[in-house]
């Protein structure tokens, strides 16, 4: 426990604030429900999994007089039970509905969160055509008067289904069997996809399939797996798409030219990632050109892309969160692996991260670089 104590003392300098929680089961999802709560869900295959809607401690929402809000705990506001594992969970904005996806990958499940009870109810299922063993459909939500669920495990199976009528309103219509790694809705008419091979595309659903995309996987790509994220609400021009490879390569791209990355760097991680499906790269909503990555080990790393020379060489994180390694309580042989992370919507340096040992951290890191 020596190292844990040392780290705790060190943490006084590293973090403005730090909370550590133990969930009853590990989660791979962290989905915001407005800015006061998150949803987490279990991903075990042989038992019932819990879906929890957690409210953040009040002190994270107030700016002054934090000392008068002693509560540092999460409140379980709602909970539900899922018979299948949950690998992805999306909130349908402006509704009380959630959509989950996992294995077996032949159904998506729709849930409802009600006001007068704390139980999350299963509402319906959406059948998905894929029948493959270990593939599961990625999910993204088109929010509008009639919300639509974008889903697919492969490019050829990409569809948008109207949530209420369950009718298919869009279909990719291609025969391409490339496996999908992530889907992201950008606005009412466009979405972005990233394939496991690294192929990226932006699709306008008003037209027949004609995505603006990159040329396809580069040399040696077969050995790597990729994920990507498009940053929202950017100020001014510049790269707004980040893609992360399981070998630690991080590329920044401009949506107008997906074939030529604007800049790239190699992250100092133990590559290749032991669980490439868990790779995650995110843009900080409150900081310019700031990214976080996870999925290689028990850390979350924060990068400032403006400090890169962009030529693909080694880059250094401005911050590394090691809490999941040092605060690990269980005496298990395997080191914990960060399964997912997310940024707080408006506190600029606050993140949430979850790991395979069921820990969940909320941390606000201190930027020790020279103040500007």
């Amino acid at each position: 426990m020596e190292s844990a104590e040392d780290w705790l003392v060190e943490s006084l300098r590293l973090y403005q604030d730090f909370h550590a929680f133990d969930l009853s089961e590990a989660t791979r999802v962290l989905e915001w429900i407005d800015d006061k709560g998150v949803c987490v869900a279990g991903y075990e295959s042989l038992k019932k999994n819990e879906i929890l809607h957690l409210l953040l401690p009040l002190r994270l929402s107030v700016k002054e007089n934090q000392g008068l809000f002693p509560e540092r705990d999460f409140k379980v506001r709602h909970g539900g039970f899922s018979d299948t594992s949950v690998f992805d969970l999306k909130h349908v904005p402006d509704t009380r509905l959630l959509v989950t996806s996992g294995l077996p990958g032949c159904h998506l499940h729709v849930w409802q969160v009600t006001e007068d009870s704390d139980v999350i109810q299963a509402v319906s299922t959406i059948a998905v055509q894929e029948e493959e063993g270990s593939l599961w459909p990625r999910v993204a939500i088109f929010s509008s008067m009639a919300p639509g669920v974008l889903h697919g495990a492969r490019l050829r199976g990409l569809k948008v289904v109207d949530l209420e009528t369950q009718k298919t309103t869009y279909s990719s219509g291609v025969g391409d069997s490339e496996e999908l790694s992530s889907l992201q809705v950008l606005d009412a008419d466009t979405f972005a996809f990233c394939c496991a091979s690294g192929r990226l595309g932006l699709v306008d659903i008003r037209q027949k399939w004609a995505p603006s995309e990159n040329a396809g996987p580069g040399p040696g790509a077969a050995a790597r797996r990729w994920c990507a994220e498009v940053g929202g609400r950017r100020r001014g021009p510049g790269p707004s798409i980040a893609s992360l490879g399981s070998d630690g390569q991080l590329c920044l791209l401009d949506p107008r030219d997906l074939c030529h990355p604007v800049s790239s760097g190699r992250c100092p991680v133990s590559a290749p990632s032991p669980a490439p499906e868990l790779l995650r790269v995110t843009w900080a909503p409150g900081l310019d050109d700031c990214l976080a990555i996870s999925g290689f080990d028990g850390t979350v790393q924060v990068y400032d892309a403006t400090s890169w020379d962009g030529t693909g060489g080694q880059v250094e994180p401005v911050f590394t969160h090691r809490g999941h390694i040092f605060l690990e309580d269980n005496q298990t042989d395997t080191a914990p692996l960060v399964t997912t992370h997310t940024w707080h919507p408006h506190k600029p340096r606050t993140l949430l991260s979850a790991a395979s040992d069921a820990s969940l951290h909320v941390w606000d890191w201190v930027d020790h670089r020279a103040a500007c």
């Binding site: 730090f18 550590a20 929680f21 540092r72 705990d73 909970g79 039970f81």
Partner: protein, 605 residues
């Protein structure tokens, strides 16, 4: 309650909301009535702060109705109404609690009385003498010691963690039992460790669920927060006041600061006020005995009362320049040294006060935690509070995960959650029901929950009866039920199974023999002797496992059943079989009769 189906019934009078609530639960089990805790609701200043004891019995005396009272620990929301209950409402029966609780309760009750009466001028409050008289009724218990309240009711205390002396109690009558947790925690802390119970499989587990829908921030992060605040204040040259109750968290915080000061090589002095060191020795003695009892070693043992960096405080030090940290009593800033120091330091915004616990209304602690920054002190003086006010919640309670752990340890048949809001606990209820396959209840204030149980009633069997059954020859088979004839005698809560003869003898009654006779008509023109022979042959071949005999006088016996053939008085072609048996052979007799009514097989020629 006598009979095959035992029943539980209870009234739950809990408090509303977290932190401010009161515990007082009534359990009826096996005909015994037990009151669990007797807490004060500290949010109210009038009679609403006491439980409504008229719920219990409208006109009877509480001493007659209640078999005992059990107090789980010294927090006022669990024992604050005890002197009111025993001395003002009236109860003279035994009050059970652990030794440390017995030692500490009166101190806190007296403190509280002083605040209520002296500071707030309340009337209709219990007096110091009442506290003393109440404590005379206390019977102290040790952990894991089975205490016989009477010859049917027994109780046993288990380690609960939470605070010094806190216990969970098992209440047992015959084969029925209830476990009441009081407040407990399942994650070990630095000086008290975690609660523990064996697989006692009670019919019902009553657990605190104030934090049931909470996932608690880790102890390390809370400690980190405390250290960070202290460090920041000290770094800017400020003074930190930590008002503490003499008994409890103070030690834990001292260990923390000392470890930290050592690691960071800090020089600012840390002081422990003198009142604290005296009480700390007393506390230490209680603590050593309490934690030496059979509990799991879930925490690091060290002598927590020897500190290298922490020194005794002298009131003159409060005026010394530069940063320092002071632990002082009392904890709610309502009097004494902590209040004196507070008054000196309140005006400087570099300074800080960290309140480590709940403060009762009317105290300075409560006022500043409510955000008040101008306080009226004695002599109409107004104190402006510019120092930083922080509140750290270090209380150790079980959250959702902890409750699940305890249920897993005790393996109850049913679970009851108290102190939560039903609407917000449906998920936990389902979780418990699914995971452990038990029923889970969440009664509201004043609601009664009834649980059926099937108690096993022990019955003594007489040796004579046992021997007789064994003599019948058939070996006992663990998997097959064996039919036994005997008489059950219930006398003085004692159940005995004896042979009928013995019962008759004991009761001074003569035995009556019941004999049945049945007539079966058979068409048979032959003589009676031949009919009897036919009956004999037929029965001999059909009833192979019974002893069938043909007596010299012509009658046939099957075991002890007698069959005689006679000619019909009016119709020589018909024979009448008289079948006669005793009550004991009813089954065979009926069977024989139906068999004979079917007629005899035609004789082979």
């Amino acid at each position: 309650v006598c009979g095959v189906n035992g029943r539980f019934a209870w009234l739950v009078e809990g408090g509303a909301g977290q932190d401010v609530g009161r515990s007082c639960i009534l359990v009826s089990i096996g005909g015994k009535n037990v009151m669990l805790d007797c807490g004060m609701h500290m949010g109210f200043n009038d009679d609403r702060r006491f439980p409504d004891f008229s719920y219990i019995t409208r006109n009877g005396r509480l001493t007659d109705f209640l078999d005992c009272v059990i107090i789980s620990h010294f927090h006022l929301d669990h024992c604050g109404a005890l002197p009111y209950f025993s001395e003002m409402v009236g109860y003279d029966g035994p009050i059970y609690m652990t030794h440390p609780t017995q030692a500490i309760c009166p101190i806190l009750l007296e403190d509280y009385r002083k605040i209520a009466v002296d500071k707030k001028g309340e009337a209709n409050f219990f007096t110091s003498q009442m506290i003393k008289d109440c404590m005379k009724k206390v019977v102290a218990v040790h952990l894991h010691q089975t205490v016989q309240v009477d010859d049917e009711l027994e109780i046993k205390a288990y380690y609960a963690g939470h605070v010094l002396g806190a216990a969970m109690f098992q209440i047992k009558v015959g084969s029925e039992s209830v476990v009441y947790t009081g407040d407990y925690n399942m994650t070990p802390d630095r000086h008290l460790g975690a609660a523990w119970i064996d697989k006692c499989r009670p019919n019902l587990l009553i657990t605190e669920s104030t934090y049931a829908t909470t996932i608690r921030d880790s102890k390390r992060c809370r400690e980190r927060d405390f250290l960070k605040k202290v460090h920041e204040a000290v770094e800017r040259g400020g003074k930190v006041l930590i008002p503490v109750f003499a008994l409890g968290r103070a030690q834990e915080l001292c260990i923390l600061l000392e470890t930290f000061w050592e690691r960071m090589n800090l020089k600012a002095p840390i002081y422990f006020s003198t009142g604290l060191t005296e009480k700390a020795n007393h506390y230490y003695k209680l603590f050593i005995t309490w934690t030496n009892q059979k509990i799991r070693k879930t925490f690091v043992q060290r002598n927590m009362f020897e500190f290298k960096h922490i020194k005794a405080f002298d009131r003159a030090f409060a005026d010394n320049p530069g940063p320092m940290v002071v632990f002082a009593t009392p904890g709610m800033l309502h009097a004494g040294q902590s209040l004196q120091i507070f008054r000196k330091w309140a005006g400087n915004e570099k300074n800080m006060v960290i309140m480590p616990g709940y403060c009762v209304q009317g105290t300075v602690g409560h006022k500043i935690l409510s955000g008040q920054r101008k306080l009226e002190m004695e002599g109409r003086q107004v104190l402006e509070v510019k120092m930083q006010v922080e509140y750290m919640s270090f209380s150790a309670h079980a959250d959702a995960k902890g409750i699940m752990q305890l249920v897993g340890q005790a393996e109850p048949e049913n679970v009851l959650l108290v102190h939560g809001e039903a609407k917000k606990m449906e998920f936990l209820k389902q979780k418990i029901e699914q995971e452990f396959r038990v029923s889970c209840y969440m009664p509201a204030n004043g609601e009664t929950v009834t649980l059926p149980t099937s108690p096993s009633i022990p019955v003594g069997i007489s040796l004579g009866l046992l021997k007789r059954e064994m003599a019948q020859g058939l070996l006992p088979d663990a998997k097959k039920p064996r039919l036994l004839h005997g008489t059950l005698i219930m006398k003085d809560s004692n159940f005995r199974l004896v042979s009928s003869e013995q019962a008759l003898k004991e009761l001074g009654l003569a035995e009556h023999q019941l004999r049945f006779t049945c007539r079966v008509h058979l068409h048979d023109p032959r003589k009676e002797q031949e009919t009897a022979m036919r009956v004999y042959s037929h029965l001999k071949s059909v009833l192979k496992e019974h002893c069938v005999q043909h007596l010299p006088d012509g009658s046939v016996t099957v075991e002890s059943i007698l069959i005689q053939a006679a000619a019909h008085s009016e119709d020589p072609g018909t024979k009448v079989l008289l079948v006669s048996w005793t009550y004991q052979d009813e089954e065979l007799g009926s069977h024989l009769t139906s068999l004979l009514k079917k007629g005899l097989p035609q004789a082979a020629s």
